[in-house]
């Protein structure tokens, strides 16, 4: 009976985070429209959505990884590796579809390496992925050096910067919408999703209930590598520029979006909806500041502050709730004591 109450209270707490995000989103939209007359134009929204497409793509599998209480900091380096591989292979005039598939496979292999090291040797994912962050970026530099490749076929460049006809939705963003739906269904409506939550909430119990943690985590890392490589392809075509240093620093923005989306540091909690909302929120705030000609360094301050707040806030809320609960219990005990 009391368990039922606390689980509904927990559900209320969960819904609240996404509701708060939705509220902030509405406030940001209103604020943006009021502060800048160009905010609500189709042109601006096309830019807004296009600007965070790559980070949004990487944040999706990353949120699942964080729910299982692991992390992947090498996503931006896989993006860079995929981008430089794309440029390098295109220089040899191989067929573009073959080149794209090779980049995706390379990304999956990178993800597999991450997963293998973490799962097989029980190494902490933070340490491993910091290492592969440097390793994969290093490979990117070996492949392409300091060069930049820019002459991609026009249909791919147009895919990168175009919009869906008659809308403001950038064509690469469609990839994000599709993947977000897939991940939403996966996490919230399949047993795999249930297992992911179980691994994050209580790994020991999950293992004893027959879930194959190792295989699932490995799959998640492969997915992360694959989608980061996809993000690399999108980035390369969006800027018609394949460089080894593409996407440097993006992992921070992706992680910020994941934590701001309600995925807790301890794992076991979080929703795809929350991550999508937080991505939009960060995108809108960045866009508002850019329209107001705020320098790009200040935008980084905003992202960093949001990251800190999003990690600090659940902690503070939990602590305040705990102390309220204790106070209520003490009052009840006192009441019962005085009644008898």
């Amino acid at each position: 009976m009391s368990e039922g109450q606390s689980s509904t209270r927990r559900l209320v707490r969960r819904v609240s985070w996404e509701a708060i995000l939705a509220l902030l989103l509405v406030l940001a939209l209103v604020g943006g429209a009021v502060l800048n007359k160009d905010f609500l134009t189709a042109e601006n929204w096309a830019n807004l959505l296009a600007n965070f497409t790559e980070i949004a793509l990487m944040a999706l599998p990353l949120s699942l990884i964080v729910i299982t209480n692991e992390i992947d900091l090498s996503v931006a380096s896989i993006l860079g590796l995929s981008s430089s591989l794309l440029g390098a292979l295109w220089q040899y005039k191989l067929a573009m579809p073959l080149v794209l598939v090779t980049c995706l496979v390379a990304g999956a292999l990178c993800g597999w390496l991450n997963g293998f090291l973490i799962v097989r040797f029980r190494l902490p994912s933070l340490a491993v992925t910091i290492g592969t962050l440097a390793l994969f970026r290093g490979f990117a530099y070996i492949i392409l050096g300091d060069k930049a490749i820019a002459d991609f076929p026009s249909e791919y460049a147009e895919f990168g910067i175009g919009v869906v006809p008659n809308t403001f939705i950038p064509t690469p963003f469609v990839l994000f919408i599709v993947l977000a739906l897939i991940f939403w269904i996966l996490l919230h409506h399949t047993t795999i999703g249930r297992r992911i939550y179980a691994i994050g909430g209580n790994p020991t119990a999950a293992r004893f209930s027959g879930i194959n943690l190792n295989r699932l985590k490995l799959l998640l890392y492969v997915a992360s590598g694959l989608i980061s490589a996809l993000a690399g392809i999108v980035y390369t075509f969006r800027f018609s520029s394949s460089r080894a240093d593409n996407g440097t620093g993006f992992e921070l923005s992706a992680i910020a979006a994941v934590f701001l989306g309600g995925v807790t540091v301890q794992g076991g909690k979080g929703t795809v909806t929350g991550v999508v909302l937080s991505l939009l929120l960060i995108g809108i705030i960045n866009n508002m500041l850019t329209l107001a000609d705020v320098a790009s360094e200040i935008l980084r301050i905003v992202t960093g502050s949001l990251l800190i707040v999003s990690v600090l806030l659940p902690n503070l809320i939990a602590k305040t709730r705990e102390s309220w609960r204790l106070m209520r219990r003490q009052r009840e005990i006192a009441r019962l004591g005085s009644a008898s």
């Binding site: 980035y235 018609s240 520029s241």
Partner: protein, 336 residues
Amino acid sequence: MTRIPLMRNIAVVCSLSFLGTIGFAQDKPLKKDLKFTVIPKNINNPYMVIQSGGATDACKELGIEGKVVGPSETGASAQVPYINTAITQRQNAILIAANDPNALVPYLKKAMSQKISVVTLDSDTAPEGREIFINQASAEGIGQSLVQTLAKQIGSSGDFAILSATPNATNQNTWIKYMQQELKKPEYKEMKLVKIAYGNDEDQKSFTETQGLLQAYPNLKGIISPTSVGIAAAARYISTSPYKGKVALTGLGTPNQLRQFVKDGTIKEFELWNPADVGYLAAYAAAQLASGNIQGKEGETFAAGKLGTRTVGKDGVVLLGPPTVFNADNIDKFNF
């Protein structure tokens, strides 16, 4: 009797009005309330600061609302968001020093399709991405004179290296191309270019690249650095190292940054033009473009304030003028 004065008067009036139209032809009125965005290669680059300052000074003279926005790192993809923002803000012109000749073209084309005039300065894009390019000096002239200056200092023989900016920068690659062309001449057959290093227009990276060059090539006799960030960093390293006076350093740099190194002998001679004039000229050109007075075609002329009347050359290029050589004799005369 009255006919002659009348004829004379008619002749005088005709010639005066003819001269008048020549004079006024370049003084077509500008549109009101123009807004320009100046996008440098990167914003914390002293050379770019001077150049952008020249552009905003010209904007003030013309009553145009001009602002300088840009990335802190020198990448083409870093400049794209600022181009997009300028389009969204419905600016009348974009003045940009391009970090890449091709990557920006789709976005600049989008700007031009929205009736935003695009002028490149200092570093060009492919011609279809802009209407006018303000070239500070003929690229061939720069390449030739840099090689000549170094040859003078190392006796036309020995190994030398080039410390460039970013590998894609249009202006860098054009100048390097002309340097290599000049090197093919028989009088430089004893001179060998052993390496082109890239400092990315970042002070720290340029510094370490200079260290690397001097360690990897112990027989290096000279370094040409055609970037103000590169030459300043290289000078800083060489002047406190045992190579001072042994390795000749020359290139493109600003007098204020390099004055102490000329005085202490690290650098004998270097070149530049006034970057502020480049920005100034770009703003004037953009003002005429945005007002519809010129289209960027060869032969068109326009008034450029204190820089006089300027003519558009082939491919929409407007030349500022010949470079200035700075050395110990004249460096104190300049303040930029």
